[in-house]
């Protein structure tokens, strides 16, 4: 299932499947709030969270998305360190 993680990499897992909007976004934003330096968040979600992407990019986060089993998505999110 870890389609986005390279061998040996780790990330905090957050499963927001089966939740009604905007609960997935609420939980993702709350999790990002507590993300430690260098830590990454791996989100399992039913839909591609297009509205979230704008918020992530505007706030200095990077993300990678993969379709897991033809229907559900996995999004890996991390904060880009500022120089």
């Amino acid at each position: 299932m870890n389609t986005l993680l390279e061998r040996g990499e780790s990330a905090r897992l957050l499963d927001v499947g089966g939740l009604e909007a905007p609960e997935p976004m609420v939980r993702i934003l709350e999790a990002l709030d507590t993300l430690g330096p260098g830590e990454r968040l791996r989100v399992l979600i039913d839909r591609e969270p297009v509205p979230l992407y704008r918020i992530l990019l505007r706030n200095g986060y990077q993300y990678r998305t993969a379709l897991c089993d033809g229907q559900h998505y996995e999004v890996l999110i991390w904060l880009v360190p500022t120089a």
């Binding site: 009604e20 709350e30 709030d33 507590t34 704008r54 918020i55 706030n59």
Partner: protein, 444 residues
């Protein structure tokens, strides 16, 4: 663990239209529907005798332009940036001008039909064409830009719906010209009116509802995603069938058979969407019948009933099915049963979502945690409003055959629309105006 109320990292949601932009559309729409219903209640059964009566056309346009198109344009201006990352150029100004033109143009058109007044037809044409051309132009410029990956299906649906709107506008413009300059222009009125209604209801309204449903049903109603055979080229096929039905209209001999085949395939296509949506709603994990779900079930049941009634009247061209009652009943099923129900169901999800989104965005200023989205509009109020809407739909359907029911059915629909306006308006005023008196306009 961090307490839930702690101020959150000030993530900027930025770039979205101000809340006042879509809300002016969403709060105008129920008022136009209430006005249409009040007009029907006042005029009584004279306005529900035939689809060709000027009174019926005045009411129909108050509903389809003032309520349905109003909501859909507001939703589109809001959805393009949030869902697809597409910036509509000068969104505030475009949104305000289009809204004004649509409000004034719809009122002028309804009065023009009612009074049969050429100057009012000319005024309505100028206002509506200016507003709709500005809207379509701004959306076209916007959709040339890069859009976020994952939003392709929605953007494709919006493109087809916009193309249908352009065709509806052109046909409507030609028809209005006949009334605006009497005697100057000759046109095959019945054929053009049928095509205008076809592109308006099944193209502009139908294709947009389908495109939005693909996005909204799994997101808010927690259904499984729509099957691939619907989200793929299905909408494009419906659009091609609409084109085929238009080009072959008026043909005789084998051409008439082709026209009928296009219409039957269109009816089957829309029935497939309605049936699949009802199936997905029945199969979801938490099948709680909240008001939005009830509205969507009603919308899909009405769509199936309208296609069934049309097939029945097409298969039996003489007798009871071919009377003036059946086209009126199909109109009531499509406009009030399908489109108004779908729009109401969508508003009950979109307005609380936008209110929540606005409060969440403004959290860095207010320091307050937004309320739970389900508390923004009390469910009990929405349930009552749904009950009134359903009862008025059933009464207006019966009124197509039993004229005594026109006035009570229309009065009930008027009450239901006012209650919708009250439910939506009080949610926004309670949560936004009272919390941040100036943020509705300033926060962007």
């Amino acid at each position: 663990m961090k307490p839930l109320d702690a101020p959150q990292r000030a993530l900027s949601f930025g770039g979205n239209p101000p809340l006042s932009l879509p809300m002016r559309y969403f709060l105008s729409a129920p008022m136009f529907a209430a006005l249409a219903a009040a007009f029907l209640a006042w005029q009584g059964d004279a306005a529900l005798l035939t689809r060709w009566s000027p009174l019926t056309l005045a009411i129909t346009h108050l509903l389809v332009l003032g309520c349905l198109s109003m909501t859909m344009i507001g939703a589109m201006l809001q959805m393009l940036p949030v869902v697809a990352g597409i910036e509509v150029p000068r969104a505030r100004l475009v949104g305000a001008v289009v809204h004004l033109c649509l409000c004034a143009g719809t009122l002028a058109l309804a009065c023009a039909f009612w009074q049969e007044s050429p100057p009012l037809f000319r005024a309505a044409m100028a206002l509506l064409l200016a507003g709709l051309v500005l809207f379509v132009g701004a959306c076209t410029v916007a959709m040339w830009q890069y859009h976020l990956p994952g939003s392709g299906a929605v953007v494709a649906g919006i493109r087809l719906a916009l193309a249908s709107l352009v065709l509806t506008m052109i046909l409507g413009g030609v028809l209005a010209s006949v009334f605006a300059w009497p005697g100057l222009i000759q046109a095959p009125m019945q054929r053009l009116t049928d095509l205008h209604a076809l592109w308006g209801m099944l193209g502009w309204v139908g294709l947009l509802v389908i495109g939005v449903a693909f996005q909204v049903m799994p997101m808010f109603m927690l259904t499984e995603p729509y099957p691939k055979y619907l989200t793929g080229a299905y909408s494009t096929w419906l659009f091609i069938l609409l084109g085929g039905a238009s080009l072959s209209s008026g043909w005789t001999g084998p051409g008439a058979a082709l026209h009928m085949a296009c219409l039957v395939l269109l009816a089957a296509g829309y029935a497939l969407f309605g049936g699949t949506t009802l199936y997905l709603l029945a199969r979801r994990k938490r099948p709680r019948a909240d008001p939005a779900t009830l509205f969507w079930r009603t919308a899909m049941a009405s769509l199936l009933a309208a296609t069934g009634a049309w097939l029945w009247s097409a298969a039996a061209p003489s007798g009871a099915a071919a009377s003036a009652h059946t086209p009126l009943a199909i109109g009531v099923l499509l406009i009030v049963g399908f489109a108004l129900s779908a729009v109401s169901g969508m508003l009950y999800k979109i307005v609380p979502f936008l209110t929540w989104y606005h409060l969440q965005d403004a959290r860095s200023v207010s320091g307050r945690k937004p309320p739970n989205i389900n508390q923004i509009i009390p469910e009990r109020h929405a349930q009552w409003q749904y009950g009134a809407h359903l009862a008025s739909l059933l009464m207006l359907l019966a009124a197509c055959w039993q004229p005594a029911l026109v006035r009570p059915g229309a009065a009930l629909l008027c009450a239901a629309c006012l209650a919708l306006w009250l439910n939506l308006g009080s949610a926004v005023s309670r949560h936004v105006f009272n919390t941040f008196p100036s943020s509705l306009h300033n926060h962007e």
